[in-house]
């Protein structure tokens, strides 16, 4: 099935981010088109995660601006970004450890839940209906990610790989337009990576969700992404289709090494 | 039930106030043992049980409920906070409360506070006598004009009790009252004493409890405030308050609740002979006769005498109920002869209560710490009834109004 890649939905222009003396990002620009899978790669400490953090308002870049669906901002708080339909997963798991899988994913629906405190306290009528409706949606995600068996387990007790799935589930629950994934496949074996790729492709296909993906597994990146940005020491050293990037000398020397 | 009159003993032998609570408890218990050793109350044996309150209100309430169930007929809460809470409960349970030398001052009005007995004196009488002493030292009430008296007090209902009276007196005689609260537990009083150094009051009244007293005296030493210008209430005038200040506290004065340290009194000697000699004493021998020990003992005696008086009316040799004990306490008539017979010669003055007067007398003396022991420095003193009576009545009326109570009528008084 062919994807209809659309217009630019997210445009990052001249972003620079510093922490004291550390230049995490220097003058980075790139864009993301609707429905595409956009990969960001680069060596450790290149600034990939920082880039995502800038996009969804966790960090405030010193320079540059970000345009999302025609709206330009240099800083927004995380909630505003979330309201605009951007969700993300985290590199170092940021799940709610004490909560069950269901509850974790349900938090992803929070923006969509409207009942007030009093209705919730009484939990009759509206609150109950709302809860059930969202629960149903969440159960679909759980089925989809195949974590049914763990739905009531506190996530802290799950093995790492499953936690990654729950993280994805929580992001999916937001029904995002843009999904930022930070190394979703770290710590998985090939079979599991295949599954994960399947999930990502499915989301992308069927919802048309735009995906920004950070990943170190070149096999995955090359196979599923439409375009790739390469960062190194906070600078952009390559941008283009996977094959172009793979052929780029800078990228080879900085990141891929000779073995690939 | 066996023929025993049960006395609950609410004590605190642990925690912040243990150094003060322990001798009190020992004296109290020793006296009850002494009563038994002498054959009980007209043949009725005395039984008792201690309950540790730790000076905490909720534990006090628990103790009260527990010991009430065991047949208690009179309680002595030994804490202002517990007194307040029990004041609400006692009428329903028909158990009288003795709060000798503490509790709410207005509860001296038996017409409103039917079940409370602040025997021997309240904080208002204490404050009044103390101010009187200052007047005397200055050479008359009129000499107090323009003087400055600081009240260094425990920041709690206990510490605040004397304030209305002091303010009343200051209006009458034109002296200044400076209020210096010290937050519980009072281990750090530098700010207070800086203020003392700044305003240099002529006298300091110390209304502390526990460590606060000795800390205050030490700060007085450190700031050079003359100890002989400091006057403590009777809860700030015992051995634990000065013991480890030692020489530093020399000259410090305090009012007594009639008795002071009375190791030579007959009752103390009795206890030594009857109990301690046989190894049945409660605390260490040396403690017998110390100020707080004597206080515990006197308190026990009051309760026992209440029962004894009740027996006179309801039947000698019988176990009294709470209501009967209440009557006994309300009709106490401890004249000097009776007191002397009990071994309190020179320790106490007569106590006689009535329906209207639940205090039964407000005698007090002054004593002074000479560096090693407390020594009496005055003869018997008394508060000015004319001043205090109306204040008590007014406060009691306010309480009654709040509670929607009416004053007791003559019939009720007679019952």
């Amino acid at each position: 099935m062919s994807k209809k890649i659309g217009d630019v939905i997210l445009d990052v222009e001249n972003i620079s981010l510093r922490f004291g003396g550390v230049k995490a990002l220097t003058d980075i620009s790139f864009n993301v088109r609707e429905h595409e899978i956009r990969a960001i790669i680069g060596p450790n400490g290149a600034g990939k995660s920082s880039m995502l953090n800038c996009i969804n308002g966790v960090y405030t870049p010193q320079e540059g601006k970000i345009t999302f669906r025609g709206k330009t901002f240099s800083h927004m708080n995380s909630r505003q970004v979330a309201e605009m339909g951007v969700a993300r997963t985290f590199q170092n798991l940021a799940l709610f450890k004490g909560m069950s899988v269901i509850d974790n994913i349900m938090t992803g629906r929070n923006l969509k839940m409207k009942t007030n405190l009093f209705q919730q306290a009484i939990r009759w009528g509206a609150a109950e209906r709302e809860e059930s409706a969202h629960r149903e949606f969440v159960e679909h995600i759980i089925d989809f990610l195949e974590i049914q068996a763990f739905r009531k387990t506190p996530v802290g007790r799950l093995p790492y790989g499953l936690q990654k799935r729950v993280d994805l589930g929580r992001a999916l629950a937001m029904e995002p337009q843009v999904l930022l994934l930070d190394e979703p496949m770290a710590g998985m074996n090939v079979e599991e990576k295949q599954d994960m790729c399947r999930f990502i492709l499915d989301v992308n296909d069927e919802f048309g969700t735009t995906i920004v993906l950070i990943e170190h597994d070149m096999g995955v990146v090359m196979d599923i992404s439409d375009r790739v940005v390469v960062l190194d020491y906070g600078k952009k050293i390559g941008d283009g289709a996977p094959d172009e990037v793979r052929a780029n000398e800078d990228v080879i020397s900085a990141y891929l090494g000779t073995s690939h | 039930q066996a023929k025993e009159q049960f006395f609950p003993v609410l004590v605190y032998r642990t925690g912040a106030y243990a150094p003060n609570g322990v001798p009190w408890a020992n004296g109290h218990v020793d006296y009850l043992k002494l009563v038994n050793a002498k054959g009980g109350i007209n043949g009725v044996k005395v039984s008792f049980e201690e309950c540790e309150t730790g000076y905490a209100t909720d534990k006090g309430v628990e103790c009260y409920e527990r010991l009430k169930g065991k047949g208690a007929t009179v309680f002595q809460p030994l804490s202002t906070g517990i007194t307040f809470a029990l004041t609400e409960k006692a009428p329903a349970d028909k158990i009288p409360l003795i709060t000798a030398g503490y509790g709410r001052s207005e509860s001296a009005d038996g017409n409103v506070f039917k079940w409370n007995f602040p025997l021997l004196g309240t904080y208002w009488t204490a404050a009044d006598i103390l101010v009187g002493q200052l007047a005397k030292r200055e050479g008359g009430w009129d000499k107090l004009k323009g003087k400055k008296i600081a009240l260094v007090y425990h920041d709690s209902p206990y510490g605040k009790e004397p304030i209305p009276l002091l303010q009343e007196r200051s209006k009458m005689h034109g002296f200044d009252v400076q209020l210096l609260p010290v937050t519980h537990p009072g281990v750090e009083q530098k700010a207070t004493w800086l203020q003392v150094r700044q305003s240099r009051p002529d006298y300091i009244l110390l209304w502390g409890w526990g460590v606060m007293n000795s800390a205050a005296l030490k700060e007085a030493v450190a700031t050079g405030y003359p100890r002989d210008k400091m006057y403590g209430v009777w809860w700030a005038g015992a051995e634990p308050d000065v013991k480890d200040v030692g020489e530093g506290a020399k000259g410090y004065n305090a009012i007594t609740m009639q008795h002071g340290a009375e190791p030579n009194s007959k009752v103390a000697q009795d206890i030594l002979a009857t109990l301690h000699a046989k190894g049945q004493g409660t605390g260490p021998k040396e403690e017998v006769g110390s100020v707080l020990y004597m206080r515990g003992l006197v308190h026990a005696m009051l309760a026992v005498e209440g029962v004894k008086r009740a027996q006179e009316r309801f039947g000698k040799g019988k176990v009294m109920t709470g209501e009967q004990v209440r009557w006994g306490l309300e009709n106490l008539a401890l004249d000097q002869k009776k007191l002397d017979a009990l071994g309190f010669a020179g320790v106490l003055r007569p106590v006689s209560t009535s329906c209207a007067d639940h205090m039964g007398g407000s005698w007090a003396r002054m004593h002074q710490w000479d560096g090693k022991a407390w020594k009496f420095t005055s003869d018997w003193l008394q508060a000015d009834e004319a001043l205090i009576k109306p204040m008590v009545k007014q406060a009691a009326d306010k309480y009654a109004a709040e509670k929607k109570l009416s004053r007791r009528d003559a019939a009720d008084c007679g019952s």
């Binding site: 709610f96 938090t107 | 209100t57 605040k160 509670k403």
Partner: protein, 352 residues
């Protein structure tokens, strides 16, 4: 009877979202409440009511409130005693100053006032976290201790600063006997516990837990820290405030600020942690543990014939040791211990 969930299939999310999804649990709780409402009044003695059951119920309510803040939202508070005092004094003022104010109304309004104060003291939590916040909440404790002693208006100008209430009534029923007091508290607490349970399993509850577990991630999925934290402070204070009012009105009848001193705050924290952070049921366990254990120990040690002093020192030691013991056995509290036991029972007799 076997404790099994085999064969109980949930056919709707609604039924899976019940408070107690397992049938046996529902029965057990139903029976327990029924017993508490009918059986206990027939069996218990006055002492049990006044010294054990009533304080237990009221403190359970306060513990639920605190648990919402600490266990669910992760904001440690050492100022709970102070908030209880606010509830008690506010309710007192409503009762005496507003003509015809019913007791129930005063108690609820006391809770409302506490909510306001709680939110005020909660504002620093937006910036200060963890133990720093915990210590900082002592400001609330000491400030209220001071305010209710110093500001005469709160105590209706009582000379000593202590206040009292009398003639409690509830829709015309006079509440003075131990049984009626107990039933009143029971009803109050059951209703509040039900509200609390509903809240913590709704989306607001999940917001609180999300703040507790990982606040940055929570912000990224669109949870507003300000709203989540302040609602937790508000709801928590509301319950705590009402518990304070009940403590003053029903349990003590007359009180001074010392009735709500810092030890009360610590006790409540104990209850919440021993009972189980993030568990409504645990709040009850914790309250029972902290209220009843010292009483039992006191009685035991005295019964053994130790002197009061030794007995109470021993009580302290055993109490401290037991707290440590339970923390070691199960740092997540009695509630977790209970659910582990249930899990074992479910698997019994085949382990694992």
């Amino acid at each position: 009877m076997f404790y099994r969930e085999n064969g109980q299939f949930k056919t709707s999310y609604r039924s899976d979202q019940q408070i107690f999804p397992i049938l046996q649990d529902r029965w057990a709780i139903g029976l327990l409440v029924a017993f508490a409402a009918i059986g206990v009044p027939l069996l218990a003695s006055e002492y049990l009511f006044r010294a054990v059951l009533i304080p237990f119920l009221i403190l359970s309510l306060a513990a639920i409130g605190l648990n919402i803040l600490v266990g669910y939202c992760g904001q440690i508070s050492l100022g709970t005693g102070g908030f209880m005092a606010v509830g008690a004094y506010a309710a007192y003022n409503f009762l005496i100053r507003v003509d015809g104010m019913p007791m129930l109304g005063a108690i609820i309004l006391g809770g409302v006032c506490t909510t306001v104060v709680g939110v005020l003291f909660g504002i620093p939590s937006l910036r200060i976290k963890g133990l720093y916040l915990a210590v900082a909440t002592l400001a609330a404790q000491f400030f209220t201790d001071w305010a209710f002693l110093r500001i005469k208006w709160f105590t209706n100008d009582s000379a000593s600063g202590s206040v009292s209430v009398s003639e409690l009534s509830f829709f015309g029923l006079v509440i003075d006997s131990p049984v009626s007091k107990y039933l009143f508290c029971l009803a109050f607490v059951v209703v509040c516990a039900w509200f609390a349970k509903n809240l913590v399993r709704s989306h607001i509850g999940r917001e609180w837990m999300a703040m507790r577990d990982m606040d940055v991630a929570a912000a990224v999925i669109g949870i507003r820290p300000v709203y989540a934290k302040l609602t937790a402070f508000a709801v928590s204070s509301f319950f705590v405030g009402m518990a304070g009012a009940l403590w003053g009105f029903v349990h003590l009848g007359s009180w001074e600020p010392a009735a709500f001193n810092i030890n009360r705050s610590f006790d409540l924290l104990f209850m919440v942690i021993i009972g189980g952070l993030g568990s409504i049921m645990g709040s009850f366990f914790g309250a029972a543990f902290i209220v009843i254990l010292p009483i039992i120990l006191d009685n035991l040690t005295v019964a053994v014939g130790l002197s009061t002093a030794t007995a109470s020192h021993l009580t302290y030691m055993i109490f401290g040791a037991l707290i440590i013991f339970f923390l070691i056995v199960e740092p997540h509290g009695l509630a977790r211990l209970w659910s582990t036991a249930k899990e074992k029972l479910r698997l019994w007799p085949f382990p694992h």
